[in-house]
C-alpha cells in the first residue's frame, strides 16, 4: 500500500489537521510503511470469523434516563475553561461562511 501526498491531504482534511508540506511528505512515506505492515493481517484466514467489537462481555447496560444537574461551582469551572465566552455561554467562530 502506497499513499500519495494528495491522499495525505485528503485524510488530513477529514481529520481536521493542518499539515506543513514537510509533514505531508513524511506522513505519505510513514503511513505507507505502516499500512504495508498492517497488510500482513491478510495472511490470516478469517472466513466465517465474527469481528470482536468488545471484550467486556456485557450487553444492554442501561440506566434511568434522568438528567443530572451540575452544581453552580462545577458550572463556573466549566465556563472558565471555555477559550471564548460571552455572558457565561460558549462563544464559537462563525459556523456558516458568507458566500
Amino acid at each position: 500500500m502506497s499513499l500519495t501526498r494528495e491522499d495525505i491531504r485528503g485524510i488530513a482534511n477529514l481529520a481536521r489537521l493542518s499539515l506543513t508540506p514537510e509533514e505531508e511528505i513524511r506522513y505519505a512515506e510513514e503511513l505507507s510503511v505502516v499500512l504495508s505492515y498492517i497488510d500482513t493481517l491478510n495472511e490470516v484466514d478469517t472466513e466465517g470469523v465474527e469481528p470482536t467489537t468488545q471484550v467486556g462481555g456485557l450487553i444492554d447496560i442501561v440506566r434511568e434516563d434522568v438528567a443530572k444537574h451540575s452544581d453552580d461551582e462545577t458550572r463556573k469551572k466549566i465556563v472558565a475553561l471555555f477559550p471564548h465566552s460571552e455572558k457565561n455561554m460558549l462563544s464559537v467562530p462563525r459556523v456558516f461562511e458568507d458566500q
Binding site: I11, V44, T46, V55, G57, P93
Partner: protein
C-alpha cells in the same frame, strides 16, 4: 528526615505511619523534596501539587491519630497526566490541554483519595498515551532513573520512573497496548493491566475505548494487591465495568504455587531479536517456579505476531474518533483563525505532537469510506482469532509467563526515527491487551549494566488473584 522515605512500599510506609516512626506530613515532604531534587533530570512530573498534598497529609495524620486509617491513608501518590484530577491541571502531555483543569476526578482517583492517599502531582507520559518510550511528550522525555541516557518506557513513563526513584510511593497509570507494563519493566517496578472492565475508565482521557484500562504501578506485587482492592468494582459512570465481586487480593498472595500449571508461549521465547540477558532472566524465573512445584508447559499462541498489526489498526481508528473532541472549541488551547475549519485544523496541528497526528491520520484513513472493511473489520476478526488462542491455552494452563519487553531500556533517541521498531517494543504486551485479559509485569532481575528486566504474568479473564499470587512468587522466589 531522610528523603529516601519515598522508596518505601505501601506496606512499609503504612506500618511506619501506624507506629509513629514518621507522620504523613513528613512522608509527603520527603516525596516533594525528592521530586524537587530530581525533576530537572528525570522529568517524571508535569505538575506538582505541593499545597494540596500538604493539606491532604494533615488530614491523613488526623485520621491516623484517631485510629481510622486504612492501608492507603497518608500515602503519597502520583497520577499519569492523561487521567483527570479535580482542580489539578491534566494535560495528557500535550500542549492543546496545557491549560485544562478538570472539574471532576476520575472514579479510580476519587476512590484512592477517599481511602486517604495523598496526591503529590501529575506525571509525564507519551501524549495521550501514544508511545512506548515517553519520547512523545510535549513536556520532554522521561529519563530512566537507573541510567539517565535510557528511556523510561511508555506511555506511563513518568509514573514508573517516579515510583522506582522514590518520588512517590505508588502511581496510577493507564494501559491500552502495554503502557503500564512496558515502563514498569524498563524501570524495575510492578505494574498491572487489569481485566478490561474490572476498573472504571470514567475520567481517563480515552485512547482506544475497546482496549483502555486503568491500573496501578508500585514497588511490590503486594502493593498492587492493596491498590486493586480499592480501585476495582462496578462504576455506574462506566457502563463497561463488571459487577463481579472484588476479592481481597492481598490475602490471597501467600497461597502456595505448588501444582499450578504455567504455560510458556513458544512464539514469545522463539522471537528473534530478543536480548540474551532478558531470555536468561526469564528462564531462571521459570526454573524457580518449577522448583517451587509449578508444572511448566510449552504452549502455542499462533496468532501472536498479528497482535501488533491488529493493535495498530484498532487503536488509531478508535483514537482518531475519540480525539475528535479535542478541537480547542470548548476547552484547551485554541489557535484562532479566520474560519471555523481553520480554527479546528490549526488548534489541532499546534497542540498535538507528531505521533498523535500520525495515529489520527492512520485511523482516519482506516475508517474512511471504502477502507473500513479492509482494515477495521479485518482487524476485529483477527482480534477474535487472538482471543481464541488465549481461550485454548487457558483451558489447559492456569497462567502464562513471558518476558514483558524483548529488551531492557534503550537509549533516548535510539528508535525515534523508526516507527515500526518502536511499535515492536510492545510485541509481548499487545496480545493480552487485544484479548482483554489481565497481565502483570514484575521485576525479574537486572542486566550486567544494571537495567531491570520485567517478567510478564498473563491470566484468565478476571483472575487477577492468581496473576498477583504468581507475580508475588516470582518476586520473592530465588533459584
Amino acid at each position: 528526615m531522610p528523603t529516601e522515605l519515598g522508596k518505601l512500599s505501601i506496606k512499609q510506609a503504612h506500618t511506619g505511619l501506624l507506629q509513629k516512626e514518621f507522620s504523613s506530613r513528613e512522608l509527603t515532604e520527603a516525596c516533594l523534596t525528592k521530586i524537587e531534587e530530581r525533576n530537572k533530570e528525570i522529568n517524571a512530573f508535569i505538575t506538582i501539587t505541593h499545597e494540596y498534598a500538604r493539606e491532604s497529609a494533615a488530614h491523613a495524620d488526623k485520621m491516623i491519630a484517631s485510629g481510622s486509617a486504612g492501608v492507603l491513608t497518608g500515602i503519597p501518590f502520583g497520577v499519569k497526566d492523561a487521567i483527570c484530577t479535580l482542580d489539578v491541571r491534566s494535560t495528557a502531555s500535550s500542549t492543546i490541554l496545557d491549560n485544562y483543569v478538570p472539574p471532576y476526578d476520575a472514579t479510580v482517583i476519587q476512590r484512592i483519595k477517599d481511602a486517604g492517599a495523598v496526591l503529590v502531582g501529575k506525571q509525564n507520559c507519551d501524549a495521550f498515551g501514544h508511545g512506548a518510550s515517553n519520547e512523545n511528550s510535549m513536556y520532554g522525555p522521561v529519563k530512566n532513573p537507573h541510567d539517565t541516557t535510557k528511556v523510561s518506557g511508555g506511555s506511563s513513563g513518568g509514573s514508573a520512573a517516579a515510583v522506582v526513584d522514590g518520588q512517590c510511593i505508588f502511581s496510577i497509570g493507564e494501559d491500552t497496548g502495554g503502557s503500564i507494563r512496558q515502563p514498569a519493566s524498563l524501570c524495575g517496578v510492578a505494574g498491572l493491566r487489569p481485566t478490561y472492565g474490572r476498573n472504571s475508565r470514567y475520567g481517563i482521557m480515552p485512547m482506544a475505548s475497546s482496549l483502555d484500562v486503568v491500573g496501578p504501578i508500585a514497588k511490590t506485587v503486594e502493593d498492587i494487591a492493596y491498590l486493586m482492592e480499592v480501585m476495582a468494582g462496578r462504576d455506574p459512570k462506566d457502563a463497561t465495568t463488571v459487577s463481579d465481586p472484588v476479592p481481597k487480593y492481598s490475602e490471597l498472595l501467600d497461597r502456595p504455587v505448588k501444582g499450578m500449571r504455567i504455560g510458556v508461549p513458544k512464539e514469545y521465547m522463539e522471537l528473534t531479536g530478543m536480548d540474551a540477558e532478558v531470555r536468561m532472566i526469564v528462564e531462571s524465573k521459570i526454573k524457580a517456579l518449577e522448583h517451587a512445584g509449578c508444572e511448566i508447559v510449552e504452549v502455542s499462541l499462533p496468532h501472536t505476531k498479528y497482535a501488533i498489526p491488529v493493535y495498530y489498526i484498532l487503536v488509531p481508528s478508535e483514537d482518531s474518533s475519540n480525539l475528535g473532541r479535542i478541537d480547542g472549541i470548548r476547552y484547551g488551547v485554541q489557535t484562532t483563525a479566520d474560519s471555523l475549519y481553520e480554527t479546528y485544523a490549526q488548534s489541532r496541528a499546534n497542540g498535538f505532537p507528531e505521533e498523535v497526528k500520525r495515529r489520527i491520520m492512520i485511523g482516519t484513513y482506516a475508517l474512511s469510506s471504502g477502507y473500513y472493511d479492509a482494515y477495521y473489520i479485518k482487524a476485529q476478526k483477527v482480534r477474535s482469532r487472538i482471543i481464541e488462542d488465549f481461550d485454548v491455552v487457558f483451558a489447559n494452563v492456569d497462567a502464562l509467563i513471558t518476558p514483558t519487553s524483548p529488551f531492557p531500556a534503550f537509549g533516548i533517541g535510539e528508535k525515534k526515527g523508526d516507527v515500526l521498531a518502536m511499535y515492536l517494543a510492545d510485541i509481548f504486551v499487545s496480545p493480552a491487551s487485544v484479548a482483554g485479559v489481565p497481565a502483570l509485569s514484575v521485576n525479574g532481575g537486572m542486566t550486567k549494566n544494571g537495567l531491570p528486566v520485567g517478567i510478564q504474568i498473563i491470566g484468565r479473564r478476571l483472575d487477577e488473584a492468581r496473576v498477583l499470587q504468581l507475580g508475588h512468587a516470582v518476586e520473592t522466589l530465588h533459584f
